[in-house]
Amino acid sequence: MIEVEDLYFTYPSGVEALRGITLTIRDGEFVAIMGQNGAGKTTLVKHFNGLLKPTKGSVKIDGVDTTKASVAELARKVGFVFQNPDHQLFCETVEDEISFALKNFGFDEDAIKDRVDWALNLLDLTRYRNISPFMLSGGERKRVALASVLAWDPKILILDEPTIGQDYEQKERLRNFIVQLNAQGKTVIIVTHDIEFVAECKPRVILMAEGRVIADGDPHEILTNPNLVSKASLILPETTRILLGLRGMEQSGRLARVIDVYEAGRILTAMLRDQG
């Protein structure tokens, strides 16, 4: 469980990035943190594994204050996959890359081997085991980065901009993957601008602007509210925009809260069938 209590953070340069954030993320939740560039999303999640420590207020992971634990201790519980895989890949082979963190956390030889096998298989990377990560494509490098974090099976998984630079098929695969991890009980937190991706995943949405949380809750409520969405410099999901634009639909209620295309399709077909 992550408990954030009245969190303020100011960078050494004097930029006040977070201004009084209070929220709780329970075990097994699936959360999307959204907002414009510079809203403080990444700054906030960097507090979850202790990379940043609060200027004021507190962050507790399973009851442990992050100021009282090292990043390495917290990272065992909170896995953080950075936006750009090129900021972490450095080994000669994909296998070494995945075992790097396992060695840091002190797993023994056999456990490392098992977990590397498991992670390679999970992300469909087994055939690249002995290849240099620098030889892989952008999407594959991103998967190696993800595998290298998933390998130690952290309770909480943070993904910073997981969909950037991924083609549609990769995104779809990523979505299934995340939903599956979440179904297995892992807490998953994604930081993203990609409203279509969030609309299809339907996690709890936390909307941020200028270092504050401006909305927190059900995606159907938040992502269909034009005021909130524009405050976070986002645009309504395409499906919602079309449905809100249909004449006479504003009042129908059933369609005013729809964010993804499948749901819209179901309702529209049913309506057309009713009309004969």
């Binding site: 990272a75 950075f82 750009n84 090129d86 972490q88 450095f90 963190a101 840091n104 620098f134």
Partner: protein, 264 residues
Amino acid sequence: MNMFDGFRFRRVSSPIHDMDPRVKFLYVLVIFAAAVLFDQLLPLLVLFVAQMPLILVAGVKRECMRSMRGSSLFAVIIFATNMLSLYLYSGGGYGSIPSIIERSLAMTFRFMVLVESFSIFFLTTSPDHLGLALEQSGVPFDLCFAFTTAIRFVPVMAEEAQTIIDAQKARGLELERGNFIRRVKNYVPVLIPLLVNSIRRSLELAEAMESRAWGASPKRTNLYVLKMKRSDYYMIITSLIILVLAAYIRLYISIPSIYELLSA
């Protein structure tokens, strides 16, 4: 990264910022020469204090303090090695302790004077201006461009290094663990991505430049042409006076040591 902070340019306007970069560079060279000419504490102290008004006029007091603080470790090392070597050199018999201290302090202040003048130069000169100055002093454009690009990317790389450190810490890397050799090895996971990304970025930069017709015309013209103003000429004259004065004092006047002055 703190030592680089002093060299990070902030775009503001002040009499010093607006000065011709070539003139400022001349000034730095003169101070450099003067600092090397003297090895006594008194003149070096004078040089150190005499530059402070420039810092105040330019309004870069905070940044200057930061770069001084960043270089304080080196200052301490210089002081300590001088103390040690002078003490051993004099065999413990000759020079008295106060004079050894004074000489070590002089060497430390020589270094601080250099840091001070270079900070003034870099803090008040934009990289673009600097490139322009080099170019209009006849340095080939290729070299100027390489130089300004290198300076331009220092803050970018500093930021990137921090991100990489964060990413590896999130994978359980502990930089401060182990003995000295182990600690150096701890930096491998940081240095490799940094190096690879720099090389990748430079290749991308080269491609972007080619696609914008780099080197298409052998004779380039500039949008901005540097022109000397009256204040620039004053600065040149002041710098030359400092140089002549310093040379004169060095050659014809014997400089008392501060210790002697105090004990007299």
